[in-house]
Amino acid sequence: MNLLDVRNLCVRYGSEQTGVLAVDTVDLRIGQGEFVGLAGESGCGKTTLAMAIPNLLPEGATVVSGSVTFDGQDITHASEETLNSIRWKEISVIFQGALNALNPVKSVGWQIAEPMLAHDSGLSDKDALARARELLDAVGISKSRSSAYPHEFSGGMRQRVMIAMALACKPKLVIADEPITALDVMTQAQILDLLRSLSSSFDLSLLLISHDLSVLADTCDRVQVMYAGKAVESGSAETIFASADSSESAAHPYTNRLLKSYPNILHERVFIDGIPGYPPDLSLPQTGCRFAARCDQVQSVCRTQEPALIELHTNHFVACHFAEQVSR
């Protein structure tokens, strides 16, 4: 059984008449101890999909249909109380931009200890703070700094605090939303290493969200790519990042363009190539393949008929009419 099983999820911003389906019938599965990467350009719905899991969607966003099953329990329409008992205790989040995600007027030790106290009424303040200090130590911050405030830390250090905070209740699943985006390259690598090693040692599952596929390459077991609210491809990291001449490799033109958009760490390729054009305006009705307008291998059928997500090989899903012929 999967730890997390999201099926046919639809999330809409705004009203039924004028709203926008930011996530349109998307599946997402994460196994026990599995590291899953979620990729796509900004605005493709990856953050919305992730935030729908513990139901932390902003006001105005609603889950229209589909289901979220976590640890065997359907939590799609769970009460706020049930969700509060799951949030952080079972599913914690490393939010985008740690500068603003930490409360500026509370010490970092207090902020790490807070969820422990909230989920364990038997825990004393002193023990919680002691454990917060242990966690700071684990992410490479001196225990003595637990009484410091967020503004006294550098960006990378704040992200470490955020990671320590996410691990506070030993959750089963950590959602890391663009955890390294605002950091410099050196710090990015350190934070990624830390995230990887701690996730293994804490024996948890990880959903890592990034617009940069190379970030996911050596961290994740599996990668799912989204485009304009749809899942367009998902497969094992080996498959997605395999070179084009392998027997099995990334099959969706969008994935392939994404792979070319960033220097590829695995293959030491420094070929950077953006994708021309913009994602479609989702407030308009969609026909055919949503990537058609930007696809360099587009055929007439692509503009009229929406491709279904098919299983190309075992556990390798692609939504493209020409998945088998796509070349890089």
């Binding site: 706020e80 939010f95 409360n103």
Partner: protein
């Protein structure tokens, strides 16, 4: 320079500026202070001569200014011709009464105003929020003195259960200090209620606005993500941050509060600075008016200073030491 000495110097500079401004307003613009006083007082030549010496009027403007500053430094605020008493002692008495009124009403205004503001701000767009906003705007649009007149009419005249004038019951005999204090407390009710009705609206509006801004901050989502109850999210994470801008806005409020207190004191004959100003306007007692303006300005400047220090204590991002 570190924060405290720098800020203190700034406050002293402002007090100096107020004193100078005051000098020009009362001593230079009307011609000379004696002509101002002589508008309403019959002064015999002897008194005029004494005043001329006191203000240093035979010297240049700079000389007069220095004499004025010297008198101020000796806390010599002049003589009240309508009360036949030194302005300093008159003012000191009034200041105590005003301080009592302002302290009690400010406490009530701040606590209730913030509580209602948080309630409204955390329910933005809901019916209860709209009603709170609308009634706040209505109360904020009322002249304070008129609210006072209405309350006098309702509670003093119509219902008749509460004292509407003064600080104690005239000719009352008290069995002890407790009954004396109870009498003052009863006299405080309507003046405080009047100030509160108008001024609570101000705190509701700024607290609400500030909390709404804070509710959109990322750390509020973090707090929700931690599985905290809605109440904890709003109060522990939201209010603590929302209060910082409220502190800044309160500094402006202090000066408005003084304006409100003057009106309330007039309506309820509360023997404080406001009533003193009112009576001095009617009697055209300029030395008293001058001192009232000077002292109320200094009090407001000091209160602003205090709120600035308090802000630094509450916000870890700035420090009192630096």
């Amino acid at each position: 320079m570190s924060y405290l000495p720098r800020k203190l110097l700034q406050v002293l500079g402002s007090i100096f500026a107020v004193a100078t401004f005051n000098f020009f307003l009362f001593h230079i613009i009307p011609g000379d202070p004696i002509r101002l006083i002589a508008r309403t007082q019959k002064l015999d030549p002897e008194a005029v001569a004494e005043l001329r010496k006191k203000f240093g009027l035979d010297g240049s403007i700079i000389h007069q200014y220095l004499v004025y500053l010297k008198n101020l430094a000796h806390a010599d605020l002049g003589y009240s011709f309508s009360l036949h008493e030194g302005v300093g002692s008159v003012l000191l008495r009034a200041l105590g009464h005003t301080a009592l009124l302002l302290t009690v009403s400010t406490l009530i205004v701040v606590i209730i105003g913030i509580a209602i503001g948080v309630y409204a701000g955390s329910r933005q767009g809901k019916k209860s929020d709209s009603w709170i906003v609308i009634s706040s705007l209505v109360f904020w649009s009322m002249p304070t003195f008129w609210v006072g007149m209405l309350l006098v009419f309702v509670f003093g005249v119509w219902w008749g259960g509460l004292p509407i004038s003064g600080i104690t019951t005239p000719n009352a005999v008290y069995s002890g200090s407790l009954s004396y204090m109870m009498d003052i407390a009863r006299h405080l009710i309507l003046p405080t209620l009047t100030l509160a009705l108008v001024d609570i609206a101000f705190f509701i509006m700024i607290t609400r606005t500030s909390l709404i801004e804070v509710m959109h901050e990322d750390y509020m989502l973090t707090a929700r993500g931690k599985g905290l109850s809605r109440k904890t999210v709003v109060w522990k994470h939201g209010v603590r941050n929302a209060l910082l801008p409220v502190m800044t806005a309160s500094a402006l409020y202090i000066s408005a509060l003084v304006g409100g207190a003057i009106q309330v004191e007039v309506v309820y004959s509360w023997p404080g600075m406001g009533l003193l100003m009112y009576n001095s306007v009617l009697a055209r007692d300029y030395p008293v008016l001058e001192a009232c303006f000077l002292v109320s300005s200094i009090v407001v400047l000091l209160a602003n200073f205090a709120s600035d220090v308090l802000y630094r204590v509450l916000d870890p991002r700035v420090s009192v030491a630096r």
